[in-house]
Amino acid sequence: MLETLELKRTPFHERTSRLSVAQNWRRWAGYMVVGSYDLSLDHEYWAIRDRAALIDVSPLMKYMIEGPDAARLLHKVTPRDVLKMKEGVVSYTGWCDEDGKLLDDGTIARLGPQLFRMTSAEPSLRWLAMNAVGMDVKVTEVTDQMAALSLQGPKSRAVLNRICRDKLDPLKYFRVAENAIGNIPVSISRTGYTGDLGYEIWIPAEQALPVWDALMEAGDDYGITPCGILAMDMARVEAGLFMVDVDYNASTHTWIEGQKSSPLEMGLDWAVNLDKKGYFNGRRALEREKREGSSWKLVGLDIAWEGLEKLYGEVGLPPQIPSMAVRGSLPVMIDGRQIGYASTSTWSPVLKKYIALAHVQRPYYEPGTQLTIEITVEHHRKQTPAKVVTLPFYDPAWKKK
């Protein structure tokens, strides 16, 4: 059958495909999604940073976890202290195998005493089922039944306030609440993948289009802009957020130990609650790693503009900047010796800086350490100065306000 060879379409396809001038499609978990609507990313990027960007994130894997043991299951699967999570709270988390190596990352939202919604990038049903053996809990995948829109940017709250039954002002950072747009019941969480003020709206798939239309209409005065995942990719690097299969590998997809990553190595120390009660996957390995220190860390690299100017100046050019985030491994060195690599690098339009997420070996991952990173100037590979900085690169005051 031919359709099995096609990519899946999200519930918003009817709208997104018509609005896309560039017809630049990307794959995401078996779906086709808009890479960019416009011919350049400028307009969509600045919608995230200054207006309101509407992003179709429906391909996110979504699971409902329900039952008396729902909290216990997630407490065991993730390093977060889920038993202490209050209703209406969302937690960002990675989850690990027995060896404390990341399988995936996503969010868990506590919707009720015995009800959670979990998002992930990779299919996680089997992993959840395996861990739920002997527990009174039901895990249901709702990926296809639940459409998701991410509304990101400083004006996102004002747009939602125009059309939501309940005003969004009381909803704090990483909180979730039931709401309604028109007569359509939606769940809105103050979350996102951009490091700006933003919300994610969880919608019954069959009601997806009216919600899209209502948002576009309400957002018109605020410059609401449909935004593809390429502009979001730049914003998430500025926000210091990493991506599975790009900045780390799911341990189940790796062939050798060296390809695996722990949440501590990825800088998620704040999301690994080693003081929590009870067993969780990877606990012993993570405790050991915490004690002994990580052998490498994911850090930010601030690539000196002066260095780029110098290298390009040598061939008579101004620095050439890629127009989108680069998902390619770039060697990172100290004194000519490789001690790491950058996994994603991008020009930051808001910071006017070239930045990268990089894996750097101990002891060179301390903030302030001067390293060098590879840059290809006119087909020649060069090293240019870069400084280790703490993440995120960009953290606007209004993100959590």
């Binding site: 350049s40 400028d42 605020y222 503009w305 101004p318 808001v350 006017k352």
Partner: protein
Amino acid sequence: MGVNTYDAIIIGAGHNGLIAGAYLARAGKKVVILERREIVGGAAVTEEIFPGYRFTEFSYVVSLLRPEIIRDLELPRHGLKILPLPSTVTPMDNGDYLAAWPDHEPTRRELYRHSPKDAEAADEYSRVMARAAKAIKPVLSLVPPDPSSMSVRDMLGLLKLGQFAKSLSEKELYRIAKLVTQSSADLLNEWFEFGPLKGTKSASGIIGTFLGPHSPGTAYVLLHHYMGEIDGAFRAWGFAKNGTGGVTAAIAASARAIGAEIRTNASVANVIVKGGRAVGVALENGDELHAKVVMSAADPKRSFLSFVESKHFPDEFVQQIKNFRVRGSSGKVNIALSGLPDFTCIKGESPLHKGAISISPSIDYIERAYDEAKYGQYSQNPYIDMIIPSMIDRDMAPPGHHVMSCFVQYAPYDIEGGWDDAKRDAFGETVINTIEKYAPNIRKIIVGKQVITPKDIERIAGITGGNIFHGELLLHQLFFLRPAPQWADFRTPLPGYYFGASGAHPGGGVMGAAGQLAAREVLKDWR
């Protein structure tokens, strides 16, 4: 140090003064920046003249704001965002338009529609101009060498100039020599045939000067404006979040965070000179402030003819400053609107509303506008560069409403009989009449308007002559001649007195180079 004792006093909290102050504070100096108005910003201010409608009163776009200043002073952390200004559209008298987009292919196709020949010439023209701009741009970051002096620093500077020149072919050097001397009309006529294209391009060559597109020297100004387009990081003109006042607010916040003090309502009467050295300033209110160094970020006339008695300067220097050309030639009309102007040539709401809209149908149109100005009249059919800031930054006007910024040339400072309220009103009407020809609904949606003549620029922003660049960007007023021969390195004949504003090298625009470079020179001299 006492309350009124500082390492450095900066006169004027425009973008250059703020930047100089921030850099000095960053070097650990105790700095105060004095501003005569109640708000900081100078000519880079955003004010809410009508409730809910925010005007970028004077300067309205940024292109050359130097990226290292943005990074050094961490301006994004203090709120700076430079939003893209994606397109330019020139309405035509026949109801059609000429548009230019940031993307090459649509732009080429659009121009091809009007002139296939020009569409091909445009690519080569851009390359030639970009190479010329690239060759000249390094000079902007150098303290200008004084060719008549032989100090090591000057010699090094000259050498650097020589090196960049060496990388160019002979043909290119001649081209640059020609560029800096010829008129923009001659340059453009060599390349193009389509009137609205030539008109729009020639307009960049007259902005802020008292010249017409047929005047020699205007081709260089065109190049000067072109430079913003060659830096990969700053591919085009941009609109600052919250207007250009957003830029100065971010710099002020950064300067304060680093430890600089900013005093508003602090108008300087004069610079205090003791033992042949600038040692402080006296304010209009009688207060005296003392410092090791005083820097003026005001215009050259006020800096050298008003703040300091002439006896402290050589006669020749005073004469040169007196002759420095600061004739304002442009005005602004800022309009609050209850809706979007309905341009005949643009159907409905279009992405073109987010870019520049240029009333520049031909070179002759602009030259005729200049003819009237030559004889002391404002243009009856002026060149107008419009943007709708609220389409770019939604915080500039209430939802659904808009503000429009109209840069208008020519409006001579020395208008026949002098400016008064009636002339200002009539000037504003002329501008609205001109816009109305292209956007017939404009009068119906006007909520309020602010008309600014060069006299108003002088009165409000304190720029003598009301020239937006503190002095025309003419070849004899640039590089080592700006503001006066031998004194282009931000020092002045009065020891302890420095000069770092748009009237200094490398000239105007919201670029901040003068303030940054002046601070660097102050620190070099620090003992």
